[in-house]
Amino acid sequence: MVVLVQYVHLYLPPLHGWNRFKMIISFLLLASLTIIGTAAAMSLKNLVHCVLALTLGLVGLAGLYLQLGAQFVGFTQILVYVGAVAILAAFAIMMTRSADPTLSNATATFRTSGAVVAVVVFAVLAWAIYYGTAHQPIFTAQPEGSVGQVGLALMHHFVLPLEVIGLLLTAALIGAGILAMDEHRGNQ
């Protein structure tokens, strides 16, 4: 808990009294939402429940982005992860698993190795946060109209990467279409 509060102090503009209290409370709420959601996604038995819990965690993450003033990233997070990825995951589970999805979570196996991986990842991230650039204040001023800035950056600085990604996604879309094409096309 203390670490979390310190984290808030590092990333938020200097606030005092009631406003700081509100920011910390909302941060704690959103953080607990995220953590509970992702923890439930790992521990629930029913895979569809896992997907729904994961969605909850992703919504909490989007809330954190919004709290930090990044509207574009926050709403895109909801649009992509809640609107598309969660549905995709649910469909994938229902179409690939055998009839009953309630009996098929891998919680029983990989428990030790999973814990080891989680601890290692956490250690690396914590190390990066403590010895990285996080101690320098990055919030010099409240960003104004960040959506417009994102658009300008995409259209001026990053036009070539944007085009390349667009090409890649189009190719992937066409490929998916060909894969999913009707097998009996020749018969009709």
Partner: protein, 391 residues
């Protein structure tokens, strides 16, 4: 005087806020903005159910509801009492929690999107920088609640209905968003208030709405077709096709939960129509310069009712599409056309004003429309229809 009537709700809110102590002012302001929206739109839903049943009845040569109240005007109250007093049946094998959460989440998502819709001059709950993005992001939560409803009911019909609904919603969400991209390009902003302001002003008596440009008109038509599909209304009501899967994803819901689904569906329809009004029809602006004395919120609701009438009309007129027709229409016609429309909007932006760009963009859009629809009916028209039965 017209200005005062136009701003009457804003003035009343400010007057009321004067009596609220400073500490709870943000909360009181939020409540005062949110509560009217949460009252007005469900009332509009109640009115629309009567209008729809009466209108459909008229189109199908029958009376429609005419028992409760004067000409059946109290029918929604009777329906409400009925659904409140009905037994709430949950199937034994259903996933209790998810089954309960699905309608709740649908209604929450449907109400949230009203936060960014300007329903009058200075009358918007939250003027977000990324308002349009917020609208589509929250709108995509509806799909998840449909999936929750269909899956948790543990019924094959509801699962099939949810599958159909989600496939349809994902397919038509793309043309919906791409059709609104042209407006975002023209207005240079994702904020709904800025988009409405960019359409303000009149040339002689005609307004500067985006629907009166070739790309805007195409975008509006694409948006409305996609909105019909998004709200699962006829002719895109495959997900709840009564003759095939009884009622789709909410077949296992009864009583007030069913009413909540109904409410959520209509609220979604109103919200998408309101978004179409905001993007293409000038928001709350008057259609002619000499009618600006009529308050802005009256114009907004007049436009909304006109679009609702169009929805009812289409429902009474067109037959239901087949699943493959639905998908082909989305992916082979709507999606390419909306992409070409974006190119058209770009050409419009960079060509000098005048009849030249009208001609070029209109030609581009009309030609691609004709070619795409020919491509859609290729190899389809003069064939003997053969049916393959399941073996």
């Amino acid at each position: 005087m017209p200005e005062i009537i136009d701003q009457i709700f804003v003035v009343i809110k400010h007057w009321f806020m004067g009596y609220v102590p400073g500490g709870i002012q943000p909360l009181a302001s939020a409540v005062l903005s949110v509560v009217p929206v949460m009252i007005v739109f469900p009332v509009l839903f109640a009115i629309t159910t009567v209008l729809e049943r009466k209108g459909l009845g008229r189109m199908q040569n029958r009376y429609g509801p005419n028992r409760a109240g004067w000409f059946g005007i109290l029918q929604p109250m009777a329906d409400g009492v009925k659904s409140l007093t009905k037994e709430d049946i949950v199937p034994r094998t259903a996933d209790q929690l998810v089954h309960f959460l699905a309608p709740v989440m649908l209604v929450i998502a449907s109400f949230l999107v009203y936060a960014v819709l300007p329903i009058g001059r200075n009358m918007v709950i939250a003027n977000l920088n990324a308002g349009v993005l917020f609208f589509f992001a929250i709108g995509s939560m509806v799909e998840l609640s449909v999936f929750m409803a269909g899956w948790s009911s543990h019924s094959k019909y509801s699962l099939l209905g949810a599958m159909r609904a989600i496939a349809q919603m994902i397919s038509y969400e793309m043309p919906l968003v791409l059709a609104s991209v042209v407006v975002i390009m023209a207005a240079g902003s994702l904020s709904t208030v800025t988009i409405v302001n960019m359409q303000a002003g009149y040339t002689w008596i005609w307004p500067h709405w985006y629907v009166f440009t070739p790309w805007g008109f195409t975008g509006f038509v694409i948006f409305m077709i996609a909105a019909t599909a998004e709200s699962n209304r006829c002719p895109f009501d495959m997900p709840e096709g009564e003759s095939e899967i009884i009622a789709g994803y909410y077949i296992e819901y009864s009583g007030f939960k069913f009413a909540l689904f109904f409410l959520g569906e209509y609220l979604g329809m109103f919200a998408t129509s309101a978004m179409a009004i905001t993007l293409f029809l000038g928001g709350w602006a008057a259609p002619f310069s000499f009618l600006t004395w009529i308050p802005s919120y009256v114009w907004f609701f007049a436009k909304l009712l006109a679009i609702i009438f169009a929805f009812i009309w289409v429902r009474g007129t067109l037959p239901r599409l087949r699943m493959d027709q639905l998908m082909n229409f989305a992916w082979k016609f709507m999606l390419p056309l909306s992409l070409i429309n974006i190119v058209g909007a770009g050409i419009w932006h960079f060509m000098p004003a005048g009849f030249g760009r009208w001609g070029v963009v209109s030609l581009l859009v009309a030609l691609s429309c004709v070619l795409l629809s020919r491509g859609l009916r290729r190899n389809k028209w003069f064939h003997v229809r053969t049916y393959r039965f399941a073996t």
